[in-house]
Symmetry: C2
Subunit: 335 residues, 2 copies
């Protein structure tokens, strides 16, 4: 059987859906439930990763130190994962995460900016830590470009490398081509992290596994912003049915997901209009609130704003473009 390592960012990516307000009881309870089910890696943190808690992207209810020590204590068998975006997090944050016993450290970079991860991946390699690199917004690059950047990441010291479908834009053949190109180019495990904007998170994750990815992400009930992530407790039995071995106990996983639905989220993710439109447009859905605000003030259709941002290939950090696009669409409507 082909082994697939399930990586569970419920307590990190799910934070986006609750403005980073998960409390200690929720973190501990879910980590214990996932551990009991045999989930190999439980990732925890602010939604934007280590060091990101701030006025700009939202203050977390719990500090990084308390999050990490809480989850570390709760895990008996599962490894603890953390995530960091260079710029939000720094080397100091990585040091402290390792001191807290983080086993897997993911560095996330825009898909064509792998060099931003060089120093951090090098540091992790020096420390003998399990440093991974994930290429975000990966629908914006070709299979060849992504393979090139994956090779670069491995050169910097990454022990695993892969893709986030940050905008939820992929359909299964897109995933097969990109994961296949990376798997052919590197000899470390390949990662896939899906989003459900086009209803394809499970199908895309299966396509990734079939194309050679061996680390696949999923969150309980798909917990995450907007349309959410790949629903973990659906993904696992589907992978098992297709002949992949996850080592996870199904009933334990279903119990963990019920805990998550009850204790972590006001409601499971819903795929609404702007999730669908941002997925189609290939735009980070985190722009949603700013788009709604700016479009509302100008009397412009926010769906048009997303499609135009997609045409301009807007990426996170380029929120200024929203204002430009809204102004231009407003002028077009008046004209």
């Amino acid at each position: 059987m082909n082994r697939v390592i399930i990586h569970d960012p419920t307590l990190r990516d799910g934070q986006h859906a609750v403005r980073h307000q998960l409390d200690v009881a929720a973190l501990r309870g879910y980590a214990e439930a996932a551990d009991a089910a045999g989930v190999p890696v439980v990732e925890v943190g602010h939604g934007n990763g280590l060091g990101a808690s701030s006025l700009q992207v939202g203050r977390a209810a719990v500090s990084d130190d308390v999050m990490l020590s809480t989850v570390r204590e709760a895990l008996r068998h599962s490894r603890m994962g953390v995530f960091m975006l260079p710029g939000w997090g720094t080397s100091t944050d990585l040091h402290r995460a390792l001191e807290h016993g983080a086993d897997v450290v993911r560095i996330g970079v825009h898909c064509t900016e792998t060099s931003l991860a060089e120093r951090h991946l090098g540091f992790l390699a020096e420390q003998g830590a399990d440093g991974h690199c994930v290429l975000m917004m990966s629908h914006m690059a070709s299979p060849d470009q992504l393979a090139e950047h994956a090779v670069a990441a491995v050169g910097y010291g990454a022990r695993a490398v892969g893709l986030m479908d940050s905008a939820g834009n992929f359909l299964p053949p897109d995933v097969s081509a990109r994961i296949g190109a990376i798997a052919a180019a590197v000899d470390v495990p390949v990662i896939f992290h899906g989003h459900n904007n086009l209803g394809m998170a499970v199908a895309n994750s299966v396509a990734a596994a079939q194309a050679g990815a061996t680390i696949i992400d999923g969150c309980a009930r798909g917990f995450g912003a907007g349309a959410g992530n790949t629903q973990l407790e659906v993904l696992v039995p589907v992978l098992e049915r297709l002949g992949f071995d996850t080592g996870i106990d199904l009933y334990g996983l279903l119990d963990a997901a019920e805990f998550a639905e009850r204790e972590l989220m006001p409601a499971p993710p819903v795929t609404g209009s702007l999730s669908i439109v941002s997925g189609l447009a290939g735009v980070f859905s985190g722009f949603k609130h700013q788009v709604l605000d700016a479009a509302g003030r100008a009397g412009v259709d926010p769906r048009d704003v997303f499609f135009e941002l997609g045409r301009r290939q807007a990426i996170a950090g380029q929120e200024d473009l929203i204002v430009d696009v809204v102004a231009e669409l407003g002028r077009r409507e008046v004209a």
Copy 2:
């Protein structure tokens, strides 16, 4: 471009999620919104179809006559669809549906019991009506068996024939094989109706279209019992992106789905533990409440009950099996 006809049973299959309580304002409002978006067929009725309103499966808030006249009035361009399960509905119900101006009449039968539809399909053909036949619980039959039954249905007069994945058990290759076999065997349009128990409703519907289905079902926000149906407003743009032409206006469709979320349902469908287990087991999720009741009384795990019902190939109408299975599992635990 390949044309796909979207068939929208939001106002029929969705009724299962609200105990058949949609009122006249909801029926009219959604029908108008779907019509404005250019949805080709809007199906309406009690969840179990014409004539099914009863104490046994639940009384609808609105009679068949009022449902049909309300939706008929609301539709300017869309065709009106109805659904009937022989036994629940009778020839009298078909007569009245045609008098109300039903344009598409679907007769649903268990996938190996097509002969139950013979008389009704013959009557519809005589009347010059557009009579369709859908084979339910279609994961329980092989591609060849399904093709045989599809050919029989066309022989009885069906102008279209296809599959319901009633248990939400299919993965895309299962759909491709079965739809492909039917499309090769008949020269009428082929139908696919998915459920989302394994997160595959959109992917399965795409697989169906690529294998030759030209009538695909979807419901606003996936409105339906348990994990729900294929999410219509996701399916349509995904099909369009893949080169299929639906003739539907995306923004209009997104608006209709927002109306549905606000006015038709307490909340969009969630894929919970028993939806996943019933999908994996290949058991009709409509058994859920009876399984929960019987298992709860006996102190048996309802998930075990679903898996055992799956092993025994239980189908709707065999609710007595639930009691047998619970009793046997109870004895096993005591032993």
